[in-house]
Every structure is written in C-alpha cells, then in structure tokens.
Assembly symmetry: C2
Homo-oligomer: 455 residues x 2
Amino acid sequence: MAGSYDVIVLGAGPTGENVAERAVRGGLSTAVVESELVGGECSYWACMPSKALLRPVTAVAEANRVGGAVGARLDPPAVLSRRDSFAHDWKDDRQVEWLQKAGIDLFRGPGRIAGDRVVKVGDTELRARHAVVVATGTRAVVPPPLAAVNPWTSREATSAHAAPGRLAIVGGGVVACEMAVAWQALGAHVTLLARGGLLERLPGFVGDLVAEGLRDAGVDVRLGTSVTGASRDGKVTLTLGDGTTVTADEVLAATGRAPRTEDIGLEAVGLVPGSWLEADDTLRVGSVAGGWLYAAGDVNHLALLTHMGKYQGRVCGDAIAARARGHEPTVTDRSSVTCVPQVVFTIPEVAAVGLTPEQAAAAGRAVRVVDYEIGNVAGGSLFEDGYTGHAQMVVDENSKRMVGMTLAGPGVGEMIHAATIAIAGEVPLDRLWHAVPSFPTMSEVWLRLLEAYGR
Amino acid sequence: MAGSYDVIVLGAGPTGENVAERAVRGGLSTAVVESELVGGECSYWACMPSKALLRPVTAVAEANRVGGAVGARLDPPAVLSRRDSFAHDWKDDRQVEWLQKAGIDLFRGPGRIAGDRVVKVGDTELRARHAVVVATGTRAVVPPPLAAVNPWTSREATSAHAAPGRLAIVGGGVVACEMAVAWQALGAHVTLLARGGLLERLPGFVGDLVAEGLRDAGVDVRLGTSVTGASRDGKVTLTLGDGTTVTADEVLAATGRAPRTEDIGLEAVGLVPGSWLEADDTLRVGSVAGGWLYAAGDVNHLALLTHMGKYQGRVCGDAIAARARGHEPTVTDRSSVTCVPQVVFTIPEVAAVGLTPEQAAAAGRAVRVVDYEIGNVAGGSLFEDGYTGHAQMVVDENSKRMVGMTLAGPGVGEMIHAATIAIAGEVPLDRLWHAVPSFPTMSEVWLRLLEAYGR
C-alpha cells in the first residue's frame, strides 16, 4: 500500500489535530498517523481526566469554605464515573468522527520517518509533498529505583478505577501535586516525596501555598526527600535518602517527561532517536535539509502544555500552508518562550504566565516585582472566608510593561488570561490603569498591584 | 466654627474616599463630609452585603451541579450572619480609622454648598481653596403606586434579618435579579415583576439565561408586567396592569436610582437640585464658573458602579492635585463611556464590558458580532455538568479591535477583566491570537471566539 498527501502528521493528540485542521483549511490534503487513541494523552490520560477528577474536589472545598454553605462532600464512585465519562471510556470514536468531518485521513499504527518526506505505517508507505510534522508528545520518565516496581505514571493516576489505601507520590511538579489533591480527596492516604520543593519553576510562594493546602487536606508532604530504592511485595516499600522507608499500596512516579521520539525513524534524517526536536518560530526543524520536517507540541520542549501545543499546531499548520503557496508565513510563534500561561488545579489553584523574576533576571531584563495578598481584596474575602492567596506581577522597567504574573489562591484559574492578554498585547502599565476591575471581584488585585507599583 | 481645606468632598462612599486619598497623595489638605456611614452605600447596603449573601448561594449551586460533589446546602441564619459581618454590623469605625490614617478630616452631617467654594455642615462653614467634589451617590427611586406601601428598597433587601415568606420584587435590573436569587435561596417565595425583560441594557441572551436560572430556582418570573396599584394590610397586595393581583408579605422596589443632589445646595451655584451633574473627563462640572466644582461617581450618571466611581475618584483627585500645582491633568477618564465593566452575581453570573452591539450601532460603528456557547469549551463542561452559558464579542471592523464582550454563565465573573484589558489596551485582534488561553479553562472561549471571527 502507498499514498501521498501534502502534509503527514505523526501523532493525533491536540497538537497534531490542530496542525492537520489548519493545513486542511489552507487547502492541503492531510493525513495523521496515530498508534494509540485519537485525541492523545490530553484526552485520555492527562488534562481531561485529571480535571474531571479535580473539579468536584475543588467545588466541595470551595463550598465548605464559605460561611453559610454547608454539607458539601464527595461521592468518590460518582467522581470516578464522571472522569470515565470525560475520558469517553477510553474510546476515540468521537475524535475519529471529528477527523473525518474535517477531511483528515487517519492511519492507525506507529509511524516512522523512512527518508526524505516518507513515512511508513506498518507496510503502508506515505509520501508528503510539503511537510511531515512530528507531534508525538511525551511519555512519563520513570527513574531507575522506581522502574523496578512498575509504578503508576500519569496514565494510571488519571485512569485508575479505585483509590489505593496508601498512595506514595514521587515528584514535586504539576502531576504530583494535582494527583495528590485528587487521590487524597478520593480516599487514599497520600505521601508526597519531592526531591526539592513543589512547583519549583514558579516563584517560591506558590510551592509554599500548595504544600500548605496539601497538608491541610491530610497529605504527608515531605520535601527535600530522595527515593533511593523500591521494592514491591503486595505492597510497595520505598527507601529514602535518609535510610527510612515509606510503605504504600501503590506508588506514582511523577518525575518528568521524555519526548516520544525513540521509534519514529529520526535516524533516517540524521537526528538522534529519543531526543527533543529543536524547532524555529514556524515550528520547523531547521537542521533537516529541504525544510520539510516540523516538530510541534511537547516534542520541541518549548512549553509542555496542551494549549501551547495547540497554539503551535495552528502556527505550524498555517506556516506549512503559506509555504505550500510559495511565501513565508506572516504569523509566527510569538508566545512559546515569553508568554506561556499555565493553570495548576491544586487547592489552592495556581496560575502563571510570562517570566518569573528569576527568568527575567536570567534574560538580563531590569524588572520590578510587585506583590499583593489576594485576601486583602474584597472579592477574595467574599469568595472564601479567610481567603489566602498571593499575586505577583513582574514589570519590565525599560518598557514599563508587565512581563509576568503569578497567582496562587482559590479561584484564580480564570484570572490569568487577563495577564496573558496584557503581556501578549504589550499593553503599557499606563494603559492598564484604565482597565477597571469590577467590584467586588478578585480581579481587583490588578488595581492593588498597579497601586503598589505606583504612579 | 469654620475651617479651610484645599479640597472638600461631599460623600464618604468609595468614590469620595478615592478622591480624598488621591488629593492627599497629591499634597492637598482634604476633608470629607458624610451624613450617614463612612464607606457609603456600597459597604453597607449594596455591593458588600449583597455579595456576602450571594456567594454562599452560588457556591452551593456550583457544587451541586458537579457530578461527584453532593450534599451542599445553605444554612440561612449563617448566611445572614456572614452578611452582617461583611457589613461590619452597620458600624463605620474601621472606615473612620482608615480616613484618619490617610490624613483625611471627617465632618459628620449633611453638607450643603453655600456659595463659591463654600460648604456648610450644620453650623460649620468650610472653605475650599481648590475644589469641592460632589460624590453623594444615588438613592432608590420608588414609583408612586409602591410609595404608598413603604416598600423595601435595595437598603432593606441587603440588610433584612429574615426572609419574608413571600417576596414580590418590582423591577428587572441588577438589584431585582440579584435579590431574587438571594432571597429565594434563603427561603422566600419570590415573585419578580418586570415591566420589560431582565437586564435589558445587555444583549438579549443575558436576560433569557437569567430568567431561566431564576425559574429553575423556583422564582415566579413575570416579564412585561406593570404594577398599577399597591396596598398593605399586614400583607402587601399589588395590582397588575392586567387587573390581576399578587399578594406578598413584603415588596422590594428595585425600579431605578436618582442622584442624591436634592439638598446639597446646588441652587447656590446655579444648578438644579435633584439633577444629575454633567462632568467632563476630569470629572469637573464645566458649567460652574471658576472650575472648582467636580462630580464623581454615580451623581454624574456616567456609570453607576462602585468600581467606576472609584476610578473616577482617582482621576478626579489627581486632576485636582495637578491643577493645584498649576498644570492640566495628564491622565483623564478614558473608560467611563466606552469601557465600563460590570459583573452581575446572579445564577448564572453575567459579566460585560464595553459596547453592546446596539450601543456600537448607535455610535455609528461598523461592528461584527461573534457568538459562542461556553458549554462547548472543555473548561465549561468540566466546571459544571451540562454547562449552559454564552459569550458574545463585538469587533470594530475598522480598527479590527474588540470593543465589547458579554458573558453569561456560571463562573464568568473573573473572566471579564481579560476583555476589559483587551479593550482598554486597544489590543488588535491579530495580537489577541497570541494570547493563548490555558487548557482546560473556560477562558478558552477566547480562542473559539477568535476562530469564529476567522483569520
């Protein structure tokens, strides 16, 4: 068998789907190759099931923290059943239907680059007239001591059908923190073992607030803790750096991600299998002759987030379509380095975008950092009794524009897009003074941050 | 007694407080005159107590609409007690303390303008070197048929200590809708009688969704209904335009606002007592010779919202300080006409900013209106099972900028500030494409609106 398309996309996750959709809109015939479920990690083992688990937990916590609202509690089987529904019971019929409607051909199976613009899917050879796009995403990295006990990864943590009695979580990043919130609420006794602090890429107050939230929920949070050994014998026993042990019924390895580029034939085009792929601001892999290879989403290591993969997918699909018409793309990726938003659905929530003070300093920018307690805003105290939360704004002192914002506190998830617009829109602080936040919402923290900055 | 100040402010609500604070920061001696409680309507009989009542109602509703979260309910006495706490039991000690710390003198009693830069508070004559600012706000208007039965106004509706068995609400605006949500949830059987539709200044879908939400909660919503007569004899009987009657234990007149300018001596400077005061973009009343009279907040009829009053207060205080130093203000009011945000804390919530399609058309602007169902965004469906909500974006086709946004749906209140920044910041749509919303938040509706607009 054989076939030819303008564009061939490896990976039918959100990134690949967006590349394909934009390419088709640009008039290009497009095929996607997927070895697992159409919809990708996000739909079945990441964003969607994890947030389906977390939203009821958050709703209950928020209700019980408002004076006059009482009695909210979780029904764990119903939470798990809700999650199943959001993961479409791990069936991809709806996504396949979407591909068909969008006019995108699907090839099931592992895809391998077999040469210049050639992709093999089993015995089928596909030829691309314009571009091949790698959008295969990442997989969990399981470090050696844990590999021996076949631990949960993010996949099992988001798809398990019952809470373990005791769950040990190794890691301090987003997966570790979110899954600690979820499974502790669903009935597990969670012990979280982090080598350093929590959510360490963000300003320190974030990790402090999240650790406090986890401890309030009953999680045994142990920071600065390494795992040096692991064994499973019915139960799992972890040996820690200080020689003590932790016993649990299950262990989740939430210790990082690696690109799924081992078995996609990178060696055929002179690249190293298993490596991250460096892409330019049109998502093209410049090191491959002929300019036909692109890498969008997690595999390029720019920003390992579904929405950034989708964004890159749009830019990438449009860029391929522009080049197919013989001209250079007018819209390039402006955001994957300096304007990446992220929401962490812990209790409290965390939301951040742009540069942290550390990143700004590392980039040689002269910045001023302004802090404010969200609980001092009327909207915060109304949202939750005894509201605890913090906002931090990073201002570039040369351009007098905001370049970063970090929020931690209940209900901040939907607040970050305002900062994303301010940063992406390069809105001067002087102009932000005229963007009046509604009283009494928590967004009034904007006013307080600007006042604290001064004018 | 007598005294002289650089600035005298009539009214110690949020607007007056902000004028005074900015004037003091500008180096001017400042007095405020207040006949009731320092902190004003907002603190004791509007925003704060109403939102203290509504937040528990919303938290319970939101929790119960998420699969896996069960059992949330209201404890009405606790809700009322929470409200009392947010209204500081109708004592203004804390606000008085704030004034003192800010270096602002307080005169208690009704203030009257008695001539050029002269204000009388009882027997005390105060002279202003630079400016007198009217920030006396508004009061409820009670139309003739209801006046006879001494109805609740917004004041009683936000401060009552028990739910009436049956509450009739006359009106279809913000006060009517919010108080219908609150008192129905607190145990009253509410009948809402609106002459037209609900929240009619906003696009039609808003009133439809709010009416549906009220009906789902059990409120008897009657639109297109006039009240032609009223009598009280233990209970209240309202006669409607069609000759039928409604019987209730209490009635709330939520039928509009009038400026509190009847008894402040406007006649002494050639203005009409009881009228709205027309102010320019420095909040100055241009029609008064000498340029010393200002009107900020509700009394100028620009935007009857606490946050806009506070904003005007900042602009006004800074303008007075600039002129006292002999130069014209550099920062003027850019937002009170075209960039006014508002959040209505109904179920579902409503949030809007900028121009509606009707307002844009009336202003002669060529606009395109883009609509999207928030329930189709992953963040919406995760937030609440069966999420129902709608987003509408108004784009100026000449400038290719957003000039208006209206959102109606659970949890949209904190989402509107993003639109406020986009409008105030005059961010081109082409640039908004690079403001990536986090997945899976409801803010992804931005992406869908931009896609629907097309590029």
